[in-house]
């Protein structure tokens, strides 16, 4: 079915239900960052891929809101569909709510599917539309009847992560969580986001190729832990571990019933971002305490065991990347064909050789030349392009291992770089090093760090439109809260947090540059002004120096870089064969001062 036909059918369904506007997103019942294909309603309707995008359909209009990371990709996807692209990162572009309030009238009806819309979003819509005297309906799934070849819910196996990797047993984690519940005077806590359950119960899943958190819910009280999951996914080992820790297994769909069984006025913690609107309504007899998730703060601060494994994991992952690089240059110089897609597959194959590898950490971004300027470029058979020995190549990839998660971006020269490319690269690298060498006082927020990171780019008259960094889970989500580094992040950077630093510079139609390391927040010193923190580097992967213009590279940055590449060589070279070691030695050679 063509996009235009799908929209026409949806409009007919809307008309028969007297709905004046319908909102369609890719969100699943848990507001997971990576929803399984079953919930890719917006993608199905509009043809636009990517992690952020929402379609609004009215009787005579259709628009898609997305952020600047996806502008270029969305423009291509929407061409000829009649769907207008709403560039939500731009000044003056109305939000979905503003647009609907402006274009609809009082008494008209706006609908969305409450089963895959989180409580926070639903509350905001309901309140805003109520103020404009418009009606809201959340009980309609108008997509399901149209989507005849809709995928089923995934059935991936679920496996246990041994305590030697997590550093804390299931029983310990349950006890810690219950202690926090007591502090907050809570009777029960619904873990709606799937990674909360994974952390608490020390398991991972395989529902999705690039994500380790399977579809499940957990309800914890002071007496019970109820785990809701498709029981077919459980290995005998997992079943045994859960039972030993006092966790009872329930069918995934039993969650509604069990929530309704909670006593009147049970003081229940729900997280508005992680619980869907339908489920929230099933707990209205409880005293709903809306707050942030207890597990969010517990899992954000990594323990010593997790950090120890992360360091080893990054050496392993860097080794895989160096093997890939060696293959890439050798293959191209031999005149053989390499495409973005074949390169992506090779990189995954190199990672798969590492002991403990489970799956890619996320869909690799392999942007050769102009494709590097598409912030979240996703390559498949439809847009695959050859990699040549000419432009520059942006590779943002990672692995999910039993001993940790990596997220590394490097930009490498495939031919002789232009002066503009070198100046862009040098500014981006300087920005990253600013944070890697910073000392900052306890209490510093992500937004303060973001400003400091961007300063070298601003000074060079450049900037990038995405955030500077995000938290990373330990074998869990690649984007894990609460902290992130962006202009609007008021979360504090705490000891033990693991975060990426990934400034960039993009020139549409020409090239894109991003350099990304993962870091761990540690104590630097303490004096009468308080505690000062710094970032301990985690990522072990060479940073190319041919792309640097020494004339605009500060001496203190040069010193850091030479030390870093030396450390990379020392840590990775023992795991390489001669050819790979030679390549790495050259890549890590000292950069002379200008």
């Amino acid at each position: 079915m063509q996009v235009s036909e799908k929209i026409a059918q949806l409009k007919a369904a809307m008309a028969s239900e007297s709905v004046d506007a319908f909102i369609v997103a890719n969100t699943d019942p848990h507001n997971n960052e990576y929803a399984a294909p079953r919930w890719h309603c917006r993608h199905w309707l509009s043809g636009m891929k990517g992690s952020n995008g929402t379609v609004v359909v009215t009787a005579d209009w259709c628009g898609l809101w997305t952020d600047s990371r996806y502008y270029e990709a969305a423009e291509m996807a929407l061409e000829g569909t009649g769907i207008e692209l709403m560039r939500m990162s731009d000044q003056g572009v109305p939000s979905i709510t503003e647009w609907l309030k402006k274009h609809l009238k009082a008494e008209q009806t706006i609908a969305f599917n409450g089963a895959n819309t989180n409580l926070k979003q639903a509350q905001a819509w309901v309140k805003a539309f109520e103020q404009s005297e418009m009606k809201t309906r959340s009980d309609l799934d108008l997509i399901a009847p149209l989507w005849t070849d809709r995928p089923a819910a995934p059935k991936g196996e679920l496996y246990i992560v041994p305590d030697e990797y997590t550093g804390q047993s299931i029983s310990d984690k349950i006890a810690t969580t219950r202690a926090k519940m007591t502090e907050g005077k809570l009777d029960a806590y619904l873990l709606g986001r799937t990674d909360e359950s994974c952390w608490l119960l020390n398991f991972r899943g395989t529902d999705m190729p690039e994500n380790t958190t399977p579809y499940c819910h957990t309800l914890i009280t002071h007496d019970d832990v109820l785990f809701f999951v498709d029981a077919d996914k459980l290995t005998p080992e997992a079943r045994e571990k859960f039972t030993a820790a006092g966790v009872s297994i329930h069918d995934y769909d039993d969650i509604d019933t069990q929530l309704q069984n909670l006593a009147e006025k049970t003081r229940l913690l729900i997280i508005p971002e992680y619980i869907n609107y339908q489920l929230a309504k099933a707990t209205e007899h409880c005293t709903q305490i809306e707050n942030r998730a207890i597990v969010t703060d517990l899992k954000a601060v990594k323990n010593a065991t997790e950090i120890k494994h992360s360091h080893r994991c990054h050496i392993d992952d860097g080794t895989a990347i160096v093997r890939f690089y060696t293959w890439l240059y050798r293959t191209l110089k031999a005149g053989e064909k390499v495409t973005e897609l074949s390169a992506s597959k090779k990189l995954t194959a190199c990672r798969a050789e590492i002991e403990g590898f489970r799956q890619p950490g996320f869909e690799s971004i392999m942007g050769y030349g102009p494709d590097g300027s598409l912030n979240h470029y996703s390559v498949d058979e439809t847009n695959d392009k050859p990699v040549l020995l000419e432009s520059i190549f942006l590779i943002d990839s990672g692995g999910s291992y039993i001993h940790g998660t990596t997220d590394t971006t490097r930009t490498i020269p495939m031919g002789t770089p232009t002066q503009e490319q070198k100046e862009d690269y040098t500014a981006v690298l300087s920005s990253m090093i600013e944070l890697l060498t910073l000392e900052f006082r306890e209490g510093t927020t992500g937004a303060q760090l973001d400003g400091i990171c961007r300063q070298p780019l601003w000074q060079a008259g450049r900037d990038f439109k995405h955030g500077t960094g995000h938290g990373v889970g330990f074998g869990l989500e690649i984007h894990e809260g609460p902290q992130n580094i962006s202009g609007v992040s008021t979360e504090q950077m705490k000891l033990g947090m693991v975060t990426t630093i990934e400034p960039g510079c993009y020139r549409p139609g020409s090239h894109g540059i991003r350099i990304e390391n993962m870091v761990h927040t540690v104590l630097s010193k303490e004096n009468e002004f308080g505690r000062f923190f710094k970032f301990e580097n985690l990522t072990i992967c060479p940073i190319n120096t041919d792309l640097i213009d020494p004339a605009c590279f500060a001496e203190r940055h040069r010193i850091w870089l030479n030390d870093y590449n030396q450390e990379v060589y020392e840590k990775i070279s023992p795991h390489l064969n001669d050819e790979e070691r030679e390549w790495l030695k050259h890549e890590c050679r000292e950069l002379a001062s200008s």
Copy 2:
């Protein structure tokens, strides 16, 4: 009456009303930053002065919450009162809500006075206590019956600011505001914060010695502008101007009645921070649209006329400060006595000589030696101390003029500074210059700027616990939103905004350093990455160089400073006598490189 006796009487009043906890603040019905003495309930009850502080009284406990600016001052004020100081800026200190939820039980009653509590705060309390199944009452004023010598509401005269200073007539401003109301589909807008009315109707008041916004409300609809004020305050000119612009005058206390007269479902804009809880309840028959104030964004962006006058105003104000400095050093060197209080009075006298001066912009902070480390030190007869030719002297002061508002902080040496003082001063000055020389992309938030400002201080192992800067009104509030520069400010710095930059470094018991300039956001350049902004300096006042340690002062900072002091000399010297000019010439002499 002693503090302990007042608290005992309040506890008795609470018991007779079956109130288990009572919250007492200094807030007035408009949530003005500077409330008139009539509303200084917390000060009256606890003896603690300062702009931030809230007392909570229970049957067996009494505590006062304040932020780090007031820790030292509060410690002194509370000594012996039995009131516990709750240091709310510190990690781990519970908020008022958290404390009450922990220490009170279900079914107990928490009360506050809804007539001087803003809607946002009241809603937050009511919701939080409801979740803990506690009761809330907002209809009790338990302080009034005890406070027998309570001051009356002020009666200061209200005067018109001519269009040649405001750059926009009353009629124009009303039309602009109504256009924004149409955009937001609003029938009416209640201007609850007093400076909103002052801006809209081009007047200022004299209700308070350090504040130009008098007690009043304005209600604007598409047909009418109703101005609620004590009519005795109006000059004939003001009355005439208002009438000519179609503004009708109503008694201050008529606001409740007029709001109740609004038609059912009137779409009324109320600002939760600026409207008190009692008044919000009087508009419950309307469709209450809670949003930010239309006037907030209009008045934050200064027009060309306001900026032109601000530049002149800062030269005038700097001239007054230089005259004060000349007097200060001359008087002390002559062996005559100067105290913080006498210096404060002299500084105000120097400003009063300037044409257009109306009143001090705020209560001057005159912190000699250790007093400089008390962030918002307020000097009066009880704590006045001599100024000697020994330590360093922090002076944070400003003037409110018909042609603008100033807010300047300088720290000057009174004797030979210590090495520690010089290193502190150099780091603080470097921090300020970082922002004064920065280019930043459109969309940059206050928190990003805050991080950049603090970097030189962090690098030197120092920090300060207050915000880096705040917006300033044009002859209006000294702290004017929406923007500010702090670790949690997600407001963007927009073209035309006027803001302070005021980093500091404080060593309790020894000294405090702060340096503050006001700046104006202007366009720097535009390229393919977007628009870049920078700060145009407004403050014209010499920056002392004897306190600089050249060894830790960057060359680019030195160049900026020499240019700045040269500009100060050129702009101020024509207005000085010979003695003052000689002093300024020496103060502005070039700083050599180390």
